[in-house]
Symmetry: D2
Subunit: 302 residues, 4 copies
C-alpha cells in the first residue's frame, strides 16, 4: 500500500515514520525540503518536490493524506490538489479542521466522485511510539482503502481507530475530544493548585501525582504526563502562566451554543484560558473601580 | 431618642451624621478620638471616651449600635459590652458579621434578657445622602425600640428598612445581597470588556454606560456609578486589575454548599476575584506545562 | 416628520403609539390587518396594505423602520424593500438582528446609496410609557434624519438614545446589553433561591425584594420588576422552570469566543438556560452511571 | 502482621479480603454479624463481636483501621475506642473524613501518645482486584508499622500508596483527588452529551468511548468505565438524571474559598450536581417570571 503524506511537521512527520515502520509506502512532501530528505534517508520515504509531484507518484485510486495547519494552509493545498485528482481517489484531512469545513469540502469533492475522509487524530508527540487515536468520517468504501494505514497508525490494528460516521463526523468527534481535554486539564490543574496552596502540609506534588497514577479514580494519561513533568520541576517558575487555546476548544463551545446544549465546565475551561491570555485585565480594573465607586474601597494602583 | 454608636469609620461615622440630622441623639465612640471630636463639633454628637463611657450616657432600655469590622474587633467589643448591659437593653450589630456568629451572640445574650439585633446595612459611601438599606433580624420588641433610628437611616421612613426575621436573618439577607452584587458586577464588567475589545467599532464606553441608564433592561445603581466613573476615565490604566473580596461573598458561596443549592454564577464571580488576586498563576503554569507535555506545544517562558 | 413602521407587534405597535403621541406621522404595516386598523383608529396611524403601499406613502428621503423578528422574516422584508428605495432613503432595523447581518446589509445598501441604520432597542413592554433605550449604528447623516423620532422614542429627548458607531455597532451594543442582562438576572435569581432555601428563617421574598429597591447596592430595574411580581406570587408554582433564550445571549457568548475574551459569568448564565431547557438530562444520567460504575453508588431509577 | 478492621461494608469488606489474600491477619468487626461470618468463612478473618472484642484480639502496638461512614458514625466509634487504646497504638481512619476532623482527632490522641493516621483511600469497588490508592497522613513511626498492610492494599508494594504529610494531609489529598474527579467526570459527561446531541451524525457513543481509550489525550480510568457501561446501554433511560454528591466535593469547594484560591471548574461541577438534585427549579421559575415581567415573554405553565 502506498499513500502520499502532505505536511511532515510534528504530527505528519511522525505519522509518516510510523507508517513506514509498519510497512506502508509513503510519498512525502513538506514545504521545507530538509524534513523530506531526512525522512527519506532514515525511513525510506519517497521524496516529492511538490504536491503535484507527490500525486504523480501514486497509482489510482490515489490516497493523499494532509497533515497541515487547519484553515488557510489546508484550504490552499486542497485547491491545488483538486485538479490533480479524479473520481475514486481519496483525500484524507488528518489536521484539526472545523467539521463544517470538512462537510463543505466533502460535498464539493463528492460532485467529482472524489472521496473525502476526515480523520481526527489525537496522540500528540507520543503517537509515534504509542500509536494515534483516529476518529474517521467518510464513506465506507474510501475508509476501506485506507484501512491498512489506519491499522498501522493506531495503537493496535483492531483498536484506536474507528469509522464513526459520515464526512464531518471524524473532525466533529475529534473536536469534542479536545473539549473534554480542556475540562479535564483544568480540573487537574485546579486540584494541584489547591494542594500547592496548602502550605501547612508542604505537599510534594510530584509524589502525589505519581501516587494517583496507581489505583485512583483520576488516573489518566494527562496525569501520567503531569506526574512525569512534576518530577522534573514542580515550581514551574520558568513557565509563563499563559495558556494558549486552539480552534477546537473554541469550536466545541460554539457547537454547544448552536445546539443549545449546556457545556458549562468545558466552556468555562476555555474562558479561563482566555483570562490567562488577557494582558489588559480590563474587566478586573472595572470591578476594582466599581468597588471604589460604591463602597469607597481603596483600589490598588497599577 | 438616644443611642450609642460604637465605631465611627466610613460607615459608622456617616450613619451617626444621618441620625443626628434626623434628630436622633447619638453618643459616639471611636478608637481614634479625632473622629469623635469632629462629629461632636459638626453634628452635635455626644462624645464618649470609651464603650463604658458611651453606655453610661444612655438610659434604660439602652440601645448600643456597633459599626465595627466583623470578626475579632466586633467580638472583643461585644465581650466588653456584655457586663455593662442588662435585661431589656439592645445591642445592634450593623457590621458585616457572619450570620452564624450573630445567631450565636443572640442566643448568648438572650440568656440574660438582652436583645440582639443584626442590622445588615447596605449603601456604602452614598448612604449619608441617599439613606441606607437596612435588613434587620431580631425580636419585634427590640426592633420597635429602634424604629425611629431605622426610619432616619433608611432612604425614607416607610421604605428601605424591614424586619426580615429572627436574629441572624438580617445578616443572612445582607450576605445574600452581597452575593447578588458580586454576580451583577461581574456581568457588567464582562459586558463592558467585550465592548472595549471590539476595537473596530471604537465604542465610547462612557457614552454607552450613560445611554443604558435610561430605558434599558440593565439600568441599575451599579450602572449609574459605573457610567459616572467612566465619564472620568475609561482606560482605567491607573487601577490595578486586582479585585478584593470580602467575607460576605465567601459566606454566600459556602452557604450555597451547605444548603446544597446551585449558585453557579455567584460562586464563579467569587472565583474570578480569587483568580484576579492570584500572583502565582500556578494553575495556568500547570496547564501550559501539560500542553507542552502531550502536544509539544511551546511554552512561553516567564 | 413621517416614517413607515413595518411590523406592529409587541414592540413595533407600542413604538408606533409612542411616536404618534410624540407628534410623528407614522405609516404602519403589519401582516395581520386588525392591528393596523386599531392603531389607525386609536392613534391616527396611516394604514398601509403592504410594504409597497407603506413606502409609496413616504416622500424622499424615505424612512422605513422595521420591527420584525430577526432572521428570515427581516431578511425577506428587506429583499422586498430594496427595489422600492433609492439613494438617500434610510432603512432602520430596530429588531434584534445579529450585527454581522447588519454589517452585511449595510454594505449592500451602501452600494446603492441607501442608508442602513441598526437601532438596537431595549425596554420591552414598558417602553411605551417609559421610553426605549436606543443604541444606534450608522452614518451620521442618516441618523440626523431620524433624530426627531429617536427623541420621541427615548425616555427623554436628550437621553436614552445615542449614535454609538458605524453600521453594526448598534446591534452589537444591544447584543452585549442583553448578555449583561442574562448575567444580572441569573445572579438575582440565584440569590433569591438561596433566601428561599433558608427555610429556618421563613423569609418573605416579596418583602426583601421591595426592601432592596431602596438604598441597596443591587437596586435595579430588574429588581423593581421582580419585587413587583413577587408581591403577587412568590411560590411561582404555575411557572415552569424553563428559561427560554434568544439569539442575543447566544451571539454574545459566540462573540466572546471569536474575540478570545473571557466572559465566564455571562456564558454560564446562558448555559444554565440551556440546562433548564434540557428534557433529556443526558449528561446527568451519564454522571449517575459513572458514579455507579466506579463506586458502586446506587443510581436512582427514573 | 495483624490489624483490626472496624466496618466491613463495600470498602472495608473488600479491603479485609485483599489484606487476607496478601497474608495479613485481620480481626474484623461489623455492625451486622453476617458479613463478619462470611469473611471469616471465606477469607479466614478473625471474627469480633464488638470493637472492644476486636481490640482485645490485638497485641501492642495495636493497629485499628476504621472504614466507616464519615461524621457521626466514625466519631462515635472513635469515642468508644479511645479508652481501649494506649500509648504506641495506632488508629487509622480510612474513611472519607473531613481533614479538619482528622487534625482534631490526631491532636487529641497525640496527648495520650496514641498515633492517628488518616489514610485517604480511592479505588471503589475495583480496589479488591486492582488495589487501592492510599494517601496517608501521620507520623512516620506509625506509618512504618502499617507498611506491610499498605503494600498489600496498594496496586503494588512500591506504588499506589504514599506518606504524603502530617496528620490531616492524607484526607486533604483524598479530598482534592475527589474534587478533580468531579471536574473530570463533568467534562466527560458534557462532551458525550454533545456527541449525543448531534443527531445528524447518529454517533455510536459506545464505539467512540472505546475508541478514545486507545491513544487519545482523554484516555483515563473514568473513560474505561464509561466506555464499558456504554457498551451495555447508551440511552440510560433507566437512570434518573440526578447526581448525588458526597462530602468531599463540597469540602474541596469550601477549602478553595478558605484559601482564596480559584477553583472555577471544580466548584461549577459541584454546582451542576446541586442543580441536578433541585426538585423545585425555583431559580429557573424566577428567571422565566422575570422574562415575562420585562419583555412580556410567555411563560410555560407547569
Amino acid at each position: 500500500m502506498r499513500l502520499a503524506m502532505i505536511g511532515l511537521g510534528r504530527m505528519g512527520g511522525n505519522m509518516a515514520r510510523r507508517l513506514r515502520r509498519g510497512g506502508i509506502e509513503v510519498v512525502g512532501y513538506n514545504r521545507s525540503r530538509e524534513v523530506v530528505d531526512a525522512l527519506a534517508a532514515e525511513e525510506g520515504l519517497i521524496a516529492a518536490d511538490s504536491p503535484e509531484d507527490a500525486v504523480s507518484r501514486l497509482a489510482a485510486p490515489r490516497l493523499v493524506w494532509l497533515m497541515l495547519p487547519a484553515g488557510a494552509v489546508t484550504e490552499s493545498h486542497l485547491e491545488r490538489l483538486y485538479p490533480l485528482l479524479a473520481a475514486g481517489d481519496v483525500i484524507i484531512d488528518g489536521g484539526n479542521a472545523n467539521y463544517h469545513d470538512s462537510q463543505r469540502r466533502g460535498a464539493r469533492l463528492a460532485e467529482q466522485g472524489i472521496h473525502f475522509v476526515d480523520a481526527g487524530t489525537s496522540g500528540g508527540v507520543w503517537g509515534l511510539d504509542n500509536g494515534y487515536c483516529l476518529m474517521v468520517g467518510g464513506e465506507a468504501a474510501a475508509i476501506e482503502l485506507l484501512t491498512p494505514a489506519l491499522q498501522v497508525l493506531a495503537p493496535a490494528p483492531d483498536r484506536g481507530w474507528a469509522h464513526v460516521g459520515p464526512v464531518g463526523a471524524g473532525h466533529f468527534t475529534k473536536m469534542v475530544h479536545n473539549g473534554i481535554e480542556y475540562g479535564m486539564m483544568q480540573a487537574l490543574a485546579e486540584g494541584l493548585a489547591l494542594l500547592k496552596g496548602k502550605t501547612e502540609f508542604d505537599l510534594d506534588l510530584a509524589q502525589i501525582g505519581e501516587l494517583w497514577r496507581h489505583g485512583s479514580v483520576v488516573r489518566s494519561w494527562l496525569l501520567d504526563l503531569t506526574a512525569e513533568a512534576l518530577q522534573q520541576d514542580q515550581d514551574l517558575a520558568d513557565i509563563a502562566p499563559v495558556v494558549a487555546d486552539s480552534g477546537e476548544g473554541r469550536w466545541t463551545a460554539v457547537e454547544a451554543i448552536d445546539q443549545g446544549v449546556a457545556l458549562p465546565v468545558i466552556s468555562l475551561a476555555l474562558a479561563m484560558r482566555f483570562a490567562s491570555q488577557d494582558e489588559t485585565g480590563y474587566a478586573n480594573r472595572l470591578l476594582a473601580m466599581m468597588r471604589n465607586a460604591f463602597g469607597g474601597h481603596a483600589v490598588e494602583k497599577s
